[in-house]
């Protein structure tokens, strides 16, 4: 499927990381789309949770939410609760995956969504943490999804809104972040993991047709490289169709996973 857009490539690669029967705390946008796609295709027992208090929603195709707390994000949920409770289930350890986007991130997976430039005289004020800081501080396996551009992949973020490995695993541990860890960064060019010893980003797999050089050229720091770099399978027709139907599709179309829930 050579006509997949970069965002589609990234979203589909992200969806494949999510296993059936798990719970994913997804940010709005691409992480949510990846989660919904996974649930519709290979992980029908995946439970999606959204910041606004929505547990187990199913999205109406063509009516994806623009914010994680609106009615479209609550559609067909099994539980609608308070925001504090939604996060505290995570702090208790009930969420397998935390899946967020990133404005700017660095070689240790630290994410900045607060300030570009000096925080006291910022060049650009960004929207802020929202739930991102809480997600990376609590969900068992943290995954980040973002376009692969040099301005996003910087050596050192201007401000750590949401900590990755800080300056390495020991720094993360001694900061008190002992319950969970960042595991993957998914982009339109590659799938990256973290080196266990240094906590630095490592190139694990390439999107179809992308070269290692291209990835490095779009990264503002030196990437570690896995001993055996994989190439990700291209999006299947089913993945691409389903993703597009989700975004633009017929909202009256009842998904498979919903049909089978009608009788206990």
């Amino acid at each position: 499927m050579s006509d997949a857009t970069p965002v589609e490539l990234m979203t589909i690669a992200g969806s494949r990381l999510l296993r059936d029967g798990r719970v994913v705390f997804a940010g709005v946008g691409a992480p949510l789309e990846a989660s919904v796609l996974a649930k519709r295709l290979h992980a029908p027992g995946l439970t999606i949770v959204l910041e606004g208090g929505s547990i187990g929603p199913r999205m109406l195709p063509g009516r994806l939410p623009v914010s994680t707390n609106e009615m479209r994000a609550a559609h067909h949920a099994s539980m609608l609760t308070s925001i504090n409770d939604l996060f505290l289930y995570g702090q208790r350890g009930h969420y397998d995956y935390g899946f967020i986007g990133a404005g700017q991130l660095d070689q240790y997976g630290n994410v900045n969504t607060s300030f570009i430039g000096d925080p006291d005289r910022p060049k650009v004020r960004l929207p802020g943490s929202g739930g991102a800081n809480d997600i990376v501080s609590s969900c068992r396996e943290v995954m980040i999804m973002t376009r692969h551009e040099p301005r996003r992949f910087v050596e050192r973020v201007d401000f750590i809104t949401s900590p990755g490995y800080l300056t390495g695993p020991e720094a993360r541990r001694s900061a008190g972040l002992v319950r969970n860890r960042p595991v993957a960064v998914v982009t339109d060019l590659a799938l990256l993991g973290f080196d266990e010893e240094t906590g630095r980003l490592r190139l694990d797999a390439l999107q179809p047709g992308v070269t290692q050089q291209q990835v490095q050229a779009n990264t503002g720091f030196e990437l570690l490289v896995s001993d055996a770099i994989d190439e990700l399978a291209p999006p299947t027709q089913q993945e691409l169709q389903e993703l597009r139907r989700l975004r633009d599709g017929d909202p009256t179309d009842v998904p498979e996973t919903r049909k089978v829930t009608s009788a206990p």
Binding site: V28, G29, E51, G52, G53, S54, L60, R63, V66, S67, N69, E70, M71, R72, A74, H75, H76, L80, T81, S82, I83, N84, F87, L88, Q91, S114, F115, P119, D120, R121, P122, K123, V124, R125, L126, P127, G128, S129, G130, G131, A132, N133, D134, S137, S138, F159, I160, T161, S162, P163, L166, A171, R172, A175, G176, L177, V178, R179, P251
Partner: protein, 301 residues
């Protein structure tokens, strides 16, 4: 019912419970179940030096800054929604003076209100550990007295006034919320004064019949105002969808004219109509009915 427990009043009467310099917390979340009518009423009443706190803040952020009503915002995120990004005038204000926006993580913000609602001066959390957020807030690191593990203590926030919009309340203020409750319960429990606006005021018996759905007890509530479409153009779960066309027009106006665009919006939607009812008339029945139809598509099982 005795007079003592009938707290019904008008928006204007309720706005008198808010004084210049107060710290306000507004319920709902981003563009959902926002106490929009009450917020506009405070702009109309020209309150000043307010601190406006809200976990995820929508473009009320820049209405309050540009009108001169608020001098400080406390939140975890400010933006209209994925589609429209960060409000431009808000950004200008904050880039000029970063101190007017105090940023917390979403849960840390919520725990400040939970602490307030529990009557405790602080609560512990694992959020903000290791982040730069920690240094720019009054939160501090602490050790658990039992396990010695490193945690963050967040200080309670006890707002002067909480503004809450709900689907239904009785005259004494017993209030019920459909859909997600966001942080409204913590806000109402923590605040010194609570103003509830409701899509409809119902009889106490209707509340009694579904008492296990009551989210806010009357004894914390000081004012109850019936305001149908009280969150519009924001959404109210199960009642009406947010008016994205209205957001589009607003975003375009502000993108083009900056602060003056905000002023123009306020003239057209707050001062011009003179009341929230006048604003709804301007929006028109056809539009309001269309938004309720769209809501039904989403909540029908």
């Amino acid at each position: 019912m005795t007079d003592a427990t009938d707290k019904r009043m008008s928006l204007a009467e309720a706005s008198a419970l808010v004084r210049d310099g107060d710290t306000l917390v507004a319920g709902g979340c981003c563009y959902s179940r926002t106490p929009w009518a009450m917020l506009l009423e405070l702009l109309r009443a020209e309150r000043r030096d307010l601190t406006l706190a809200r976990n995820l803040m929508c473009y009320e952020s820049e209405l309050f800054l540009a009108s001169g009503a608020a001098t400080k915002l406390v939140a975890s995120w400010v933006g209209i929604g994925l589609k429209w990004g960060i409000p431009k005038v808000f950004r200008e204000y904050v880039e000029r003076d970063p101190a007017i926006y105090e940023e917390w993580s979403h849960l840390s913000f919520g725990l400040r209100l939970l602490a307030g609602s529990m009557g405790m001066p602080f609560l512990p959390t694992a959020s903000m550990l290791g982040s730069d957020l920690l240094e720019r807030t009054p939160a501090v690191e602490m050790r658990c007295p039992f396990t010695d593990q490193k945690l963050v203590a967040v200080p309670a926030l006890v707002p002067d006034v909480a503004l809450i919009h709900v689907q239904r309340a009785d005259p004494a203020g017993n209030a019920q919320i459909d859909g997600p409750v966001y942080m409204d319960v913590e806000f109402a429990r923590a605040a010194e004064t609570v103003i509830v606006t409701a899509e409809e005021i119902v009889s106490p018996d209707e509340i009694v019949r579904t008492a296990d759905r009551t989210a806010i007890p009357g004894f914390v509530v000081d004012a109850v105002v019936e305001v149908p479409f009280g969150s519009y153009p924001h959404e109210c779960h199960g009642r009406y969808e947010a008016d994205f066309d209205h957001f589009d027009a607003y975003a375009e106006l502000v993108e083009r004219d900056g602060v003056e665009g905000v002023q123009a919006y306020l003239r057209e939607n707050v001062d011009g109509p003179g009341s929230f009812a006048g604003f709804l008339d301007k929006v028109g029945a056809t539009r309001l009915l269309e938004q309720t139809r769209r809501a039904r598509e989403l909540v029908a099982a």
